[in-house]
Every structure is written in structure tokens, then in C-alpha cells.
């Protein structure tokens, strides 16, 4: 009797298992589809990053139209396109094309795939292996960029011209003499629809964290014509993003109302922002009283 009961229970368990398995087989694809949709939504928004996905002000190139000079080629091709693979200690063929290494690993350096050719032979683009690789007629291997669309004809022409001109390095850049703002997000005179989560300022040098306090910078809303008062202070938190000491974030504590806004720097001794070399921030813009304006923008209401 007991064994019959056990048998019935076993059959029930088996049926439950079978139905669970059938359900799993039915719904697993839907689950995968849902997870995949979620994953696809995970692409970065790029906030505070340059076109290469690096923090603003961290030394990445600014892009723009390509010209036949090394810095432009680095900023438009090597950094944004090639370093997807050719970077770090796992770079294919040991060829690192980040800004710090590319020139030294390209010009007059033998190719590892075809050692009889150098990667860049100054003055001779036809016998430069890099040119052959990007044009797709190298004797070995696939056209570069691997797995992506070929470089545009004008881009290849600029690289060819740079090689023909002698493959000169980038003009040596002297250490910046002053500490200044490189870029801002939003940009000056931007008109923003809706509120703004934070304002970011990028500098040409690392910011001295000790010089940052809640009075170093201030965000003001300028009164519109007809409103009482000239301007009002907007409460905002000032912070240094940990991975990028070249940047400062101003995060309003409440959503910004429509209006005209400006970010001002304090210049009073002891309150001024400074870089890691203790140089105070240099600003050429006109100011409000003694404090120069770094940035002005407008916020419009949601349509």
C-alpha cells in the first residue's frame, strides 16, 4: 500500500517536472528576448565623455575634419577607431595605437606580419604596411579596421599625405602655462529643454581636490525682466568625479526652473579653484563683480 502511494507521488512529481520543463522550453526564448532587449538598452549615454568614450578633458582628441598631420590622424582614426583592439597589453601584433605609443610603434618600425616592410616609411606611402592594411591590399591578413567598414577615401588620403610629407610627429606641446577651463557641458549659450541633472566643467590640468569646496563655484539663476531681484543662488553640490580629476560636477539639489543660468568662479584669496600645481583658475571672460563667469545657458520648460 505504501509503495503504491509512493508510486502515485512519483508519477505526480514526474508530471510536475515535465510540465515545468515544457514551460521552461516555451518561455525561455521569451526570457532571453526580454533579457536581450534589456541588455540592448544598456548602451552608455556618453554623458561627460568625448567622442572616444573617455572623460572630457582627459587628453583625448577633439576630432573635427581630418587633416594630413599626425595629431589629426590620431584624434580622428587611431584613437576612436583603432584602439578598440590596438590598445593595452593584448594589442594585436603588439601594436598599440593610443596617443602615447602610436608614433613610436609605427614610424620606421618593421611590421610583424611582413618584416620586410616597415609600418610607416616616411615619404613612401606605397611601401608603408599600415597604408596597405587600411587600403586592403596588404599581402597578409584582413583589411583594417577588422570587422568594420573601411576608412573613408578622404581619411585614407589624409594618412597617405601625412606619410608623403615625411610622417612628422605631432607638434610638441608645452606644458600648459595656466590652469583653465577646456570645455563645459552644457556649452555656453546652450538652450536646454527641461531640467539638467548636472553641469560639468573640464580643465586642462588636474584639479586640486583641496581647493574644491562649496564656495569655489556657484550656480545662479538670473532674474528675467520683470522679476524681482537680479539673480538668485541655486543650491548645488560640487564634486570631483573619482575617475577623472580633470573634471568638476555641479549637481543642482532640485530641478532647474526655466530661466537663464550662469556658473561663476570665486576669486577671493583662499576660495579660488586651483590645479595640482597650486595655480589658480585663469578666466578671460567678463565677470559679475569680481567673479568671472565660466558658463551661461538657458533652460526652457518642457514643451
Amino acid at each position: 500500500m505504501q509503495s503504491a502511494s509512493t508510486g502515485v507521488r512519483g508519477v505526480k512529481l514526474f508530471n510536475e517536472y515535465s510540465s515545468m520543463r515544457a514551460a521552461w522550453c516555451r518561455f525561455a526564448p521569451l526570457g532571453f528576448l526580454g533579457a536581450s532587449l534589456g541588455l540592448a538598452a544598456c548602451a552608455g549615454k556618453g554623458t561627460g565623455l568625448d567622442a572616444n568614450g573617455r572623460p572630457l578633458g582627459s587628453g583625448g582628441g577633439v576630432g573635427g575634419a581630418i587633416t594630413a598631420d599626425f595629431q589629426s590622424i590620431q584624434d580622428n582614426v587611431f584613437t576612436p577607431v583603432c584602439t578598440v583592439c590596438h590598445a593595452g597589453a593584448g594589442a594585436p601584433q603588439g601594436l598599440r595605437l593610443d596617443a602615447a605609443n602610436s608614433f613610436n610603434l609605427l614610424v620606421n618600425v618593421p611590421s610583424t606580419e611582413v618584416p620586410s616592410l616597415v609600418r610607416i616609411r616616411p615619404g613612401d606611402p606605397d611601401n608603408s604596411y599600415l597604408i596597405q592594411k587600411i587600403e586592403g591590399h596588404a599581402s597578409v591578413g584582413a583589411q583594417m579596421p577588422f570587422g568594420g567598414p573601411p576608412l573613408a577615401a578622404d581619411v585614407i588620403a589624409a594618412i597617405r599625405q601625412w606619410v608623403s610629407d615625411g610622417a612628422q610627429p605631432a607638434t610638441a606641446q608645452a606644458a600648459p602655462a595656466v590652469f583653465k577651463v577646456l570645455s563645459t557641458a552644457p556649452a555656453t549659450d546652450d538652450l536646454l529643454i527641461g531640467s539638467l541633472p548636472q553641469v560639468m566643467l573640464a580643465f586642462n590640468q588636474e584639479v586640486d581636490a583641496a581647493s574644491v569646496d562649496q564656495q569655489s563655484l556657484r550656480l545662479e539663476r538670473v532674474a528675467a525682466t520683470g522679476e524681482a531681484g537680479s539673480s538668485e543662488l541655486v543650491l548645488a553640490k560640487l564634486s570631483l568625479p573619482a575617475p577623472n580629476p580633470h573634471a568638476l560636477l555641479l549637481t543642482p539639489l532640485s530641478p532647474l526652473q526655466p530661466g537663464h543660468y550662469r556658473v561663476l568662479a570665486h576669486t577671493a584669496p583662499g576660495l579660488e579653484l586651483a590645479d595640482i600645481n597650486s595655480r589658480p583658475l585663469t578666466l578671460n571672460s567678463s565677470g559679475v563683480g569680481d567673479d568671472p563667469v565660466i558658463l551661461e545657458f538657458d533652460v526652457a520648460g518642457d514643451q
Binding site: C25, L39, G90, A142
Partner: protein, 362 residues
Amino acid sequence: MRVKVAMALSAVAVWLCATQTARAEPYLAVQGGYECSTCHVNPTGGGLRNDFGLVYAQNVLPAQTIGGPDAVWGGKLTEFLRLGGDLRANWTRNEAPKSPSQQKFALDQVRLYGQISMIRDRLSLYVDEQVAPNSAQNLEAYVRYSDPAHGWYVKGGKFYLPFGWRLQDQTAFVREVTGISMTTPDQGVELGYETLRWSAQVAVTNGAANAQSGSGHQVTGQVVFVQPRWRVGLAASQTQADAGNRRVAGVFAGLRTGPIVWLGEADLVSDEGYPEGKRKLGSLLGEADWNLAKGHNLKLTAEYYEPDRNVGEDQQTRWSLLYEYTPIQFLELRAGYRRYRGIPQNDAQNRRLTFIELHGYF
């Protein structure tokens, strides 16, 4: 004799059909619960197919097998020499924001494989040579000594490194981020262990960063536990180089549920070779392969790439939807669409790729 061979192959094929066993790609191996070496000469997969792989390619993989017993290809020119090959030609269309679309026909690759068995089941020499387009390029060339009684082998020369899923798509994030794929063979020695349920390899090679010069090296290894319906593997790699040290760790797994095979891989990379110092990267792969009917496969992949864990909002994703059709033996047609998504500032990270591929193999 030929008829006997054909009958034997057909019998094996019928058995394969009846038991829904392995094919020649990672998802196919999971479908049958087999190791890579079931279908390939190379224990870590890819390249030259063995007797089992060729029987499968002719009888199970295609929607229809044409030709009679005389049309059977066994892969062996002599008792000691085996040949194989792959040809891939495609049409691609690339679209990126703010750029004109590009499209073209191209011969992607023609590869020939050869194996000479100097001592049957013991000592062999293997070559994988890309012969087109452009000049010949050697991708693998090694000598392998095996001890089949105990499952051990050792090979030396140039070979692909054992790490994670050996995917057909070499541009998958998990392959690009780890830097270990079938486009990045390395030179050194590999020690392997193969049993019915376990597969393990460890390789000591130069390392990509030491291609130019340097005194560093790379150690790469993986261990895989294989079950009839699922498998799981762990992989790791460490490179010492003047450019900086690099460590990679990964976990990968596969599961079969009815007609669908699921593959997954997650990899983490710590790389000291960047100008600013150490950078930590990560990537994920999820793949579903739905065997719609004999000769028809629908593949969906979702991928995620974290270029720098210390930088926010820089992640990239990639979606692929592919249809793979094998109308007759040794011929495959693939059509697919890939959607890249990344930061809006970078057009290349938001491109779309449409392609049709013709794949012939033997």
C-alpha cells in the same frame, strides 16, 4: 570497398540523426553533448574536420543530401594525409550615422587545412593556411603528440589559444576584449587532457604584446566539464609584457532545451598597458540557436561591452540576428543583421551591418 565505406558512413549518419548529436560549431557541440574534438582534428575545435565531422556535414547538417554513394568525401587522400578547407565570400552593407553607407562583395577567406599522421593516433603535423585573398598566411602549424590511452596530448608550434567559446564570429565582443580569437594565433606549447566529460588545456606562448620584442610570455588555460545537455567552462590568461601585464578571466556555459541551444560567456580583463595605467574591461555574450528544421538555424546574439569600469556611461552593446541555411552538404548560406549601440558621440559605435555569406567547406 567504396560501397562499404558509404554504407558505414550512412549507418553512422542514421545513428547521428536518431540521437541528435553534434555538429561543428560550439552550439552544435552543446546540442549533442560532445567535445570539440568529436568533429575536429584539433582538440580545441575549429579547422580540419575528422571522420565524424565529415559524416555529419554530409548527412545530418544539410537540409538535403544529394549525390549517391560515390559522392562521399572522406577527407583522406591517403591513410596518413587528411585535407580540408573553408571558403567564405560575402556581401556586406555598413551604415553609420552621418556617413554614406558602404556596400561591397568580397572574398573573405580561403583556408586550407592539412594533417599528416606520422604515427597513427600518436604523432601528427597540422597546418592551417589562409591562401586567399592576397598572399598566403599561416595561422596554425604545430606538431602534436598524443597519448590516447590516458587522454593527454602536447603540441608545439603556432596555434589558437584555448579560451572560451571558439565562435565563428571573430568580431564578437568577448573575442575582441579578451584578445583571444581565431585571428590571433600565438607561438608556444600546449598541454591538453581530453576525456569523455572533461576537456582541459594550458598553453605557454609569447603573448601578443611581445610580438615585436620583449622577454614576456602568456599563459592561457581552460577547463570544461561536459554533460549531455549542458556544459560549463572556466578560462584564464595572464600576460607578462614590457607594455604592461594583463589578466583575463572568463566563464562560459551552454545548455540545450529542446530545439534551442543557449550559449553564454562572461569575461573580465585587467590590463596595465594603457597610457593612464590599469584599465578594467568586461564583456558578456548571450546566444540562442534555434534549430528550426534540418538544415535551418536561427541565431540570436546579444552582447555587452564595458570598455572601462572606472568610466560611466561608456558601455556598448551589439545585437545580431542570423539565419543559417545549409541546403546541401558542404554548402551554407548565412544572412544576418547586426546592430551596434554605443555612446552617441561616436558614429562607429552606432553602426549597422547587413550581410549575406556563402560558405563552402570540405
